[in-house]
Structure formats: structure tokens, C-alpha cells
């Protein structure tokens, strides 16, 4: 058998780079479809307000304007926007339309969209729309939003509690009753804006003769987008082609189904001409999903030698004003991965999702999983500090031994393989841990503070439906042998900066 080429440790030049470094790559806004009209959005400056009146007369009178849509046209535009299937029995699912209907629930929520002959005309027309708002009290703090008397975002319910989830494992009460030491912490995993260098953008071209739609979106999930758009626009899936062209970064923020991805093709079908929308950076900060935003109250039970016997975590996850596509699923991953790389036999995870007057949170870099890692790693360090033990040794002590793999966690996952002690030993050797601690001690005497921190990480990836997670999807592939003898492989991979792109 021929030797396989060696890849690990070998520099490999990326095949997509020539077009990226010469400026010939095609991102959404680089498409020039003949006759393209441009969409622009008017967004709410209020976090929470009733829409009293929208006057679009002046905008409609502009000869360059082809269409104006507001929430009053609710019967005309597709929606509400769906979310991915998720198994949360008490999930409240508020209607989330592509345009605000009746009231706005966060700054940046689209109130109207305009289509005009060019991008300058579209922006001009947005400025001609007058909206009268009746501002309402706001709920921007997730804990306060849960208090009685808080302003209610979705008035069909009596509170802002979006859903709950409880994940019990072992006997956590017994663990705390018998604990030799307990440590508590309140951890804020702050909200952030993902900010890919390329803002979002969508272009759509409807071919009336073949009743088919072509849509280009700066998206991480063209396949999911295609299925969802086909349903929303009442087109057969084989008449919808979604193309993710060059994507200028995603970080999770483009793994979604956004209002604009529905409005642009809807308008392209209605107006029978190509429509493009490019997000401005200002809009990107307001109207593209945010990440994280969890308040975590955590308590750990342990023996004096640093062995963890139990963990309790009460987590409040700020969902923002509506659910975006994966939103409620994100903090449930925090629960599943709560033990991280450690053997924690007794555990209780109590999650509450909350609606607040802020942009929706959703998948951002690890999507709920780094939130679990940060929590458990902080807990390990706090426990080590409390017991005056080396944080490395507390980690080592709580790793499941290599002989325990495949290792079932108390949250219902099965870690297929691993040797965490050996990995840690290798790391300590590579960094010369003793020398580093000695350097830290000598610098401390000079009044200089050198920090040494450790973190371990394990992640569930490629999520398909399983006993632990009811949602997710399966990958498929098509392999085609061409007449030339060459082989074409079609997969669901959608490159957006990973180096997995085509030449």
C-alpha cells in the first residue's frame, strides 16, 4: 500500500487564498445582477414601544421607490420566523415576524423596509418614513425581568419566563449534606456582539418562468436556510437554490434564519427583479444576534482533598426579545457540558430562559459550551484557592481516569475516549510548570504579578439527534463518478474562513 502523505506538522497553503489576496473573490455585495434593486430597513430606536402610526406616504411618493413594507402588511409578508426543533416542554414561542407588528421589543428591530432603484435611494426613502412610537417601560436586566411587576414583552403570557430546563444527575442533596467544604460563586458571562468583518447581506433572484428562486446569503448554514425558505415562501425545495458565496467571517452570527433572508426573496418574487440588501455596521451591532449573556449561580461540594462530590448551577439565560433560530437550545448545551472534563457524580442544573428588551442571543463561538467551561474552570480555581491546593492537582484529581472511558457523564453524555491525565502531564512538561511557578514566586518578590491559569475543554460537535439531545440534523453526501473518471463529492460543509474552501 502506498504511504499516505504526512499532514500533521506540514504547512499546507490554502487553495482559496489566491482569489482572496487579489480581490477577485465574490462576497454577496460583489454580485452585480442586472436590474438589481436595493432594500434598506428602518429600525426601532426604542427598546420597547407601541407603534402608534407609520406614515410611509412620502417614501411611496418617491419615484425611485418600488415597494414599502411595514408591520401593517403582515398578511402580505411571510412569517412568523420558525426556530429549530427543540424539546423543551414549557417553551413559550412568541410570534416573531420579519417586521415589528404592533410594538417593538428591542432597539434595531425592523419596523419597515423599502426597496428602491439603488442603495442611495433606498436609504433616502427610509429617512422619509415617519413613525410615531409610544414608549413602554423596558426590561433589560434578566433577573429584574423575572420579578413581579416587570414590564411584559409578550403580552399573551403573564411573565417574561421563556422556558425552563432541569438536568439532575445523581443525588446532589446528599452530596451537599455530606460535603467537607462548599464554595459558591456568582458568575456573569457577559453579552457580546459577534462582529464578523463582513456584515450580513442577502441577494435574491426569482426566475418566474421556472418558478425558482436563487438566493445568495452571507450565511454559515445554506442547507438549513434553503429548507426553511422553501417552507416560508411556499416553494418546493427543488426550486430554491441557496448559495453561500465567499463569507467574510461568521462566528456563529451567520448560523441563523434572519428576517432579511425572508424579506429579500419575498420582495424579489413580488417585484420580479433581483433585490439586494447589505447590512450596515450600525445595523450589524443592533440586528445581528448577540452571544452569551448568562447569570450563573453555582455551588460546589467537595472533600478536603479537593475531590468534587456535587455541583449545583442555577443559570439565567437572556434570550433577548425573540428567539432566533437556535436560541433556546444554546444554554441547554451549557447544562449538558457542565461537568466539562471532570467526574462530577452528583449534579443539578436549573436553567431559566428570559425575554428582555435586547437583541436575541444565539450561537456564538462554541454556543453555550464555553459558558459551561468558564463556569466549571472558575469553580475548580475557587475550590483550589479555598483549600490552598495547586489548581493543577485539583484538576488532575477530578479527571475521570483513562480506564473509565467510554465515560458516561452525570448529564447523560458519553465521552468516547480520552486520557486527560496524560494530556495534562504532557502540557506541564512542555511549559516546565515547576520553573514557571518558581519564576512567578521570584517576580512576586519584586512586586510583579505573573498569572498562570489553566483551562480544560471538551465539546460535543456535529450534533445529531441522540438520547441526550433531541434536536440536530444528519449530514449527507453524494459521490459522483464523472465520465472523465474524476470523482465529484458533494457534502454539507460550508466553508467560511476555515481553509476548507475550493481553489
Amino acid at each position: 500500500m502506498a504511504m499516505l502523505p504526512k499532514f500533521v506538522g506540514t504547512p499546507i497553503k490554502r487553495r482559496e487564498d489566491p482569489r482572496l489576496i487579489t480581490g477577485t473573490a465574490t462576497y454577496v455585495d460583489d454580485l452585480h445582477l442586472p436590474g438589481t434593486a436595493f432594500m434598506a430597513a428602518l429600525r426601532s430606536p426604542y427598546a420597547h414601544a407601541r407603534i402608534v402610526r407609520i406614515d410611509t406616504q412620502a417614501a411611496r411618493a418617491d419615484p425611485r421607490v418600488l415597494a414599502v413594507l411595514t408591520g401593517d402588511d403582515i398578511k402580505e409578508f411571510p412569517g412568523p420566523l420558525p426556530i429549530g426543533a427543540i424539546d423543551l416542554p414549557d417553551l413559550k414561542l412568541p410570534a416573531h415576524y420579519p417586521l415589528a407588528v404592533g410594538k417593538v421589543r428591542c432597539v434595531g428591530e425592523a419596523v419597515a423596509v423599502v426597496v428602491a432603484t439603488d442603495r442611495y435611494a433606498a436609504r433616502d426613502a427610509v429617512d422619509l418614513i415617519a413613525v410615531e412610537y409610544d414608549p413602554l417601560p423596558v426590561a433589560v436586566d434578566a433577573e429584574q425581568a423575572l420579578q413581579p411587576g416587570a414590564t411584559i414583552l409578550h403580552e399573551e403570557w403573564s411573565d417574561n419566563l421563556a422556558f425552563t430546563m432541569t438536568l439532575p444527575g445523581g443525588d446532589v442533596q446528599k452530596a451537599f449534606r455530606e460535603a467537607e467544604v462548599t464554595v459558591r460563586a456568582r458568575i456573569l458571562n457577559q453579552r457580546l456582539a459577534p462582529i464578523a468583518m463582513e456584515p450580513r447581506g442577502v441577494a435574491a433572484h426569482y426566475h418566474a418562468a421556472s418558478r425558482s428562486l436563487e438566493l445568495w446569503s452571507s450565511t454559515q448554514i445554506p442547507h438549513i436556510l434553503r429548507s426553511q425558505l422553501a417552507a416560508l415562501l411556499h416553494l418546493p425545495e427543488n426550486r430554491v437554490r441557496v448559495i453561500a458565496p465567499e463569507v467574510g467571517g461568521g462566528f456563529g452570527s451567520k448560523a441563523n434564519l434572519y428576517a432579511e433572508e425572508v424579506l429579500v426573496p419575498h420582495l424579489a418574487m413580488r417585484l420580479r427583479r433581483p433585490i439586494k440588501w447589505m447590512e450596515e455596521r450600525r445595523e450589524n451591532i443592533m440586528a445581528t444576534i448577540h452571544g452569551r449573556d448568562q447569570i450563573q449561580e453555582v455551588e460546589v461540594a467537595a472533600t478536603r482533598d479537593g475531590t468534587i462530590t456535587g455541583l449545583r448551577a442555577r443559570v439565567i439565560a437572556d434570550m433577548g426579545a425573540y428567539y432566533q433560530f437556535f436560541a433556546p437550545g444554546i444554554p441547554t448545551l451549557t447544562g449538558l457540558l457542565l461537568p466539562g472534563c471532570y467526574h462530577i457524580p452528583n449534579l443539578l442544573f436549573e436553567l431559566r430562559g428570559v425575554f428582555t428588551n435586547k437583541m436575541s442571543t444565539d450561537a456564538y463561538r462554541g454556543a453555550g459550551r464555553p459558558e459551561a467551561t468558564h463556569l466549571i474552570e472558575r469553580v475548580i480555581d475557587l475550590l483550589a484557592a479555598e483549600l490552598q491546593l495547586d489548581p493543577v492537582e485539583v484538576r488532575r484529581k477530578n479527571f475521570p481516569p483513562a480506564s473509565a472511558f467510554p465515560y458516561p457523564t452525570s448529564t447523560g453524555l458519553l465521552y468516547d475516549s480520552g486520557n486527560y491525565q496524560a494530556s495534562l502531564d504532557k502540557l506541564l512538561e512542555l511549559i516546565d510548570y515547576r520553573a514557571l511557578r518558581a519564576e512567578q514566586a521570584s517576580l512576586r518578590q519584586q512586586g510583579r504579578y505573573l498569572g498562570i491559569g489553566f483551562s480544560t475543554y471538551v465539546e460535543i460537535c456535529g450534533i445529531g439527534p441522540s438520547a441526550a439531545i433531541s434536536t440536530g440534523g444528519w449530514e449527507s453526501a453524494t459521490v459522483r463518478v464523472e465520465p472523465s473518471g474524476k470523482v465529484t463529492v458533494l457534502t454539507g460543509a460550508s466553508p467560511h474562513s476555515f481553509g476548507s474552501g475550493r481553489p
Binding site: 497553503k13 489576496i21 487579489t22 480581490g23 462576497y27 455585495d29 460583489d30 468583518m197 467571517g249 474562513s497
Partner: protein, 157 residues
């Protein structure tokens, strides 16, 4: 409408534009030079960097009329896939990009940097590209790419 005439990547061009029309839209939408990107609309990110009369500028906050009579160099004029400029080669060799969206602007900023200082230190490189943001790389490989380009340019000088 105002008539403007300028030279872009060595070719003369002339059009009627609105006084408010941005240079970046002129390059991208009128001339079809879409290698120059728009990342922030506000001169923060540098994705739209081009050379205007030999000086790197952010074309998202320059009016097209301000470029009347000027010489403009964009990423398309710097090199091609067949004849990569040493800076472009450096970015490819040293993995100086991931999503590539900031890269053309970054390369143009580096072009100015190396014209002014053919042998910059790492610190000078980092100061030299401070007006250009990259979200993917963490900059270290970009610094390596600039050093590669500086070496290559000096060797061929």
C-alpha cells in the same frame, strides 16, 4: 451631478456622479473593482483601504468627487493570481488571512507601510496596520506576512 476623471490602476476613467457618492461605491459599483470591501462605513476597520495619489486612504469616507484628477491604486492593480505582489505572496505563504474580507485593505495598508519603511520592526508593523482590523487571525500571522514581504522586496531591490 458632477463629472469626474481619474486614473484607476493605470486606466483613465470618467463618469458623472452625485456629489455625495462615495469613492468606494464608485470603485465597486461603477468600475466593478469589488476587491475593495466595505466593513464598517465609518473609517474604523480599513477594509476599504486604497492608495489615493500614493497615500493609503479609507475609501468609504472619501467622496468620489474628491478623487477627481487623482491616481488610485486598488488591490486589483497591485498584483494578479499569475503575478502576485510580494505582499500578496507573503499573506499566502504565512497564512496571513482566514475569511479574507479584511485582506485587500490590509495589503494596501502594508503597501504604504513598506514604501515608507522597507525594513520595519515588529512593533513598527503593528503600528503601521493599526488602522486595519482583522477578526480572524489575531494579527500574528499578518505580522509574519509583512516580514516575509519586506524580506522579499529587499532581496529584489
Amino acid at each position: 451631478m458632477c463629472k469626474i476623471s481619474l486614473t484607476v490602476n493605470g486606466a483613465r476613467t470618467s463618469h458623472e456622479v452625485e456629489p455625495r457618492f462615495l469613492l468606494v461605491h464608485y470603485l465597486r459599483d461603477v468600475l466593478g473593482l469589488t476587491g475593495t470591501h466595505i466593513g464598517c462605513d465609518t473609517s474604523q476597520c480599513g477594509a476599504c483601504t486604497v492608495m489615493l495619489n500614493g497615500v493609503a486612504v479609507k475609501s468609504c469616507t472619501i467622496l468620489a468627487v474628491q478623487a477627481d484628477g487623482a491616481e488610485v491604486l486598488t488591490i486589483e492593480g497591485l498584483g494578479s493570481e499569475e503575478h502576485l505582489h510580494p505582499i500578496q505572496e507573503g499573506f499566502w505563504e504565512e497564512h496571513g488571512l482566514q475569511c479574507g474580507f479584511c485582506t485587500p485593505g490590509m495589503i494596501m495598508a502594508v503597501h504604504q507601510l513598506l514604501q515608507r519603511n522597507p525594513d520595519p520592526t515588529d512593533e513598527q508593523i503593528r503600528w503601521g496596520i493599526e488602522g486595519n482590523l482583522c477578526r480572524c487571525t489575531g494579527y500574528q500571522h499578518i505580522v509574519n506576512a509583512v516580514r516575509y514581504a519586506a524580506r522579499k522586496l529587499q532581496a529584489t531591490r
